[in-house]
Amino acid sequence: MSHRLRFVPGRLLQAVPVVFGVTIVVFFMVHLLPGNPALTLLGQTATPDRVAALNHQLGLDEPLWQQYGTFLRHLVTGDLGTSITYQQPVADLIVTALPVTLELVVFALVLALLISIPLAGLAATRPGRGRDLGVRAFTLVGQGMPQFWVGIMLLLLLAVRLGAFPVGGYGDTPGEHVYYLFLPSLTLAIALAPQVIRSLRASMISVLGSEYVGTARSKGAGGAALFRGHVLRNAAIPTVSIVGVNLGYLVGGSLVIEKVFAVPGLGSLMVNAIFSRDFPTIQAVSLVVALFVVVVGVLTDVAYTLLDPRVDLAVGGRP
């Protein structure tokens, strides 16, 4: 690790108040929602006495600041609380669901890059020509289609018609996970790719027109070697931050996609928790998502530093 990554620990420390703020906002927002978990657990024959008794048992009749204090106390000892609906530690639920969503998001990112890099290259090498127009049309369509609809179409075509993929689910083995997650990841990738393509295409065009590429060409470099060695690395720098920002959105998008594809990840966990007012689960999931966004932000800067030798975030800002 180069000395230029000295900024990482400090950046992570700066994130502590951010995450703390998120827990406060989420806590009071969900407690402002009308309704409580007892209402969803007890069915419609629940008498007011029984609802009150269960809320008391769950500690939901204490003042809000006291409940928040309890949440914080537990958090400091590494205890995320107990899910009200499942009556088991939230940490267990998150340990099961988080890897699923991470796999989905990382897989989507890989697919998005696999789609974007060649298409951006195609477009950038002949700007304004047919293939460039074709790629730009694709970015417009890809961004315009609602994600759930793309998901359903992929299911219909690739899973039901062709039988090439399973219709939703997650499978049991690592190999199966990849196979089951392909379509949902592709759905997310189709939504992410247009933005990556646009950014890459623009920066590739400017890199291709730059002096050092001309110099490399005059020295006899060309084709794929030139593209990999000179063009892609330099063009990738602005795209890294686009990808970083979008990873946060990708987690949001996975909420919808997980429902369509019956993927048991954080999104499914969160949606059910909100509906049943499972406060501890809502708190814990938002905490984890906030941490995820912070970590992705730091990783984006790390990637930046490694890609661009001129950047030293430990002393100054970005160029």
């Binding site: 309704g35 209402l39 969803t40 024959t45 008498t47 029984r50 008794a53 499942y86 939703g168 019956a262």
Partner: protein, 510 residues
């Protein structure tokens, strides 16, 4: 002095039916195979005494069985882990005889001690569970290994039906030496399937119980319920042969699957009734003429057509046809705009009024019903605003009485009308007459009489009267009776759903 009750139930009991109850469904399939059922929501808990959601109940019913079981047509109870019973002449003492040769899946034999423990356990959960169902029980005694004596506080006709509820299912005495919490993490019972694996949010698997008392059953090696929230995805999974059964497809999927090759879509008769809850604390809904006007203004047939895609029928009673003692009522309000207008003219607000209905956001059925109501009530001068709330916020509003109208639904848990009628029309039922704040002393008295009447003919009379009076009061506006929708691969045989919604997977082959 004891006398043997020679009711239909006892007659069945004396016929000593073979294992696994009196299944009339043919099981022309083969043994073995893994059945996969996809459903919208995951189970929450295996605790039979404190759990209220069907996703959990349908699962643990395969592991833990009660003494009596609702018949396939839902009209009566039949002996299950019991073989029969005697009842004293004062109707206060029930002596129940247990089936021989029943063992728990852990190998220990089921005895009267286990039965006493299980029923007492349920009764104790009065505050946060199903305990209220046992309110009439005074004591349960294990008389000898194979006999249990239940003493009642008062004559109580629904007692056998109450004992057939899943919360009274039989588990090992003292949780087999575990704590309740440990026990319900992997419950042990006498049922055809045993605990397998639960991946929360993803799937729950039960395996075949090789020690099951029902001869030759179950046929399947395992059953897995998978969580697939999106109805459309479930439909595609069924068409892609990834699952065997789609539990509760939405009605549009159901219609599409009816004509799909290799798929059987069945609407099983249910006890579900959907109705409009009218809060009588809100003016002018305390006026019976206003409520009747609303009830007459609703075109139920068109709701059945648009909302249920034709799968259902207009409702004319607070009981559904699948409930014992249902009586067809030609006098009940039906779609008749002229009568609705006449009732409005007689009411305290002949000029009409503005009101609102609160519905659950994201529930397409409720959205359609509310929109149809909106246009129909306009005809009689009622301006209806639709207010959408998320499901839990709506429950909170309902329980607090902060609403004018909303859409209610009820499905029976036991084959006896009392569970619902006491909740629906008796304010002492705990929820202000199903949140309508309806309070008619006459009706309450009839309901109480029917609870204590053990002669079925007399009971039928009382419930007929109750159904007529409540309909005339328009205590609620009945909408429709809808069946349970299931779609499955045509190779699945023996899958039957009772009007209470439970199914017996020991009869299923694939």
């Amino acid at each position: 002095m004891r006398l043997t009750a020679l009711t239909a139930v006892a007659a069945v009991a004396l016929a000593a039916c073979g294992g696994g109850g009196s299944s009339s469904t043919s099981t022309a399939g083969k043994d073995g195979g893994k059945l996969v059922i996809a459903r919208a929501a995951d189970a929450l808990s295996m605790n039979k005494t404190t759990t209220f959601d069907n996703s959990s109940i349908y699962v643990f019913e395969q592991m833990m069985e009660p003494l009596f079981m609702v018949s396939e047509d839902g009209t009566k109870v039949e002996p299950w882990l019991a073989t029969g019973y005697d009842v004293s002449s004062d109707k206060l003492t029930y002596t129940i005889h247990l089936r021989e040769g029943v063992t728990f899946s852990n190998g220990s034999p089921m005895t009267a001690k286990d039965v006493k423990f299980s029923i007492d356990e349920d009764t104790k959960t009065g505050a946060d569970g199903w305990g209220y169902i046992n309110a009439a029980i005074d004591t349960v005694t294990a008389t000898d290994d194979k006999t249990v004596t239940i003493k009642l506080k008062y004559a109580w006709a629904p007692i056998l039906a109450d004992l057939s509820l899943f919360s009274n299912a039989i588990i090992p005495d003292n949780y087999g030496g575990k704590t309740a919490e440990q026990f319900y993490e992997a419950p042990v019972g006498t049922g055809p399937f045993v605990w397998g694996e639960w991946k929360k949010g993803q799937s729950l698997t039960l395996n075949k119980n090789p020690k099951y008392w029902g001869s030759g059953k179950p046929h399947l090696d395992s059953v897995t319920w998978t969580v697939v929230p999106d109805a459309n995805t479930r439909k595609l999974q069924l068409q892609g042969k990834q699952i065997d059964i789609d539990e509760f497809p939405d009605w549009s999927s159901f219609s599409a699957l009816k004509s799909a090759p290799g798929i059987t879509a069945t609407a099983f008769p249910s006890t579900r009734i959907d109705y409009v809850t009218m809060n009588q604390k809100k003016t002018p809904l305390q006026d019976v003429h206003v409520r009747r006007a609303i009830a007459y203004a609703l075109d139920r047939e068109s709701m059945v057509k648009t909302v249920l895609y034709g799968n259902g029928q207009a409702a004319d009673s607070l009981l559904s046809p699948g409930t014992p003692f249902y009586a067809k009522n030609p006098q009940a309000p039906s779609y008749d705009v002229a009568t609705a207008k006449a009732e409005m003219a007689k009411s305290s607000t002949p000029q009409g009024f503005s009101t609102s209905i609160s519905i659950s956001s994201g529930d397409p059925n409720q959205g359609s019903v509310a929109q149809i109501m909106q246009s129909e009530l306009k005809e009689i001068g009622i301006d209806l605003q639709i207010q959408q709330l998320d499901p839990t916020a709506l429950r909170a509003a309902r329980n607090a009485g902060n609403f004018t109208m909303l859409l209610g639904g009820w499905t029976m848990d036991i084959p006896d009308p009392d569970e619902w009628t006491s909740f629906a029309v008796d304010p002492d039922g705990g929820s202000h007459s199903a949140y309508t704040y309806y309070d008619n002393p006459d009706v309450i008295a009839i309901n109480k009489k029917a609870q204590a009447e053990t002669d079925d003919t007399k009971r039928a009379e009382l419930y007929k009267e109750l159904q007529e009076k409540t309909a005339a009061d328009a205590w609620a506006a009945y909408l429709y009776y809808s069946p349970y929708a299931y779609a499955m691969q045509s190779s699945v045989k023996g899958f039957h759903v009772t009007p209470l919604g439970n199914y017996h997977l020991e009869n299923v082959t694939k």
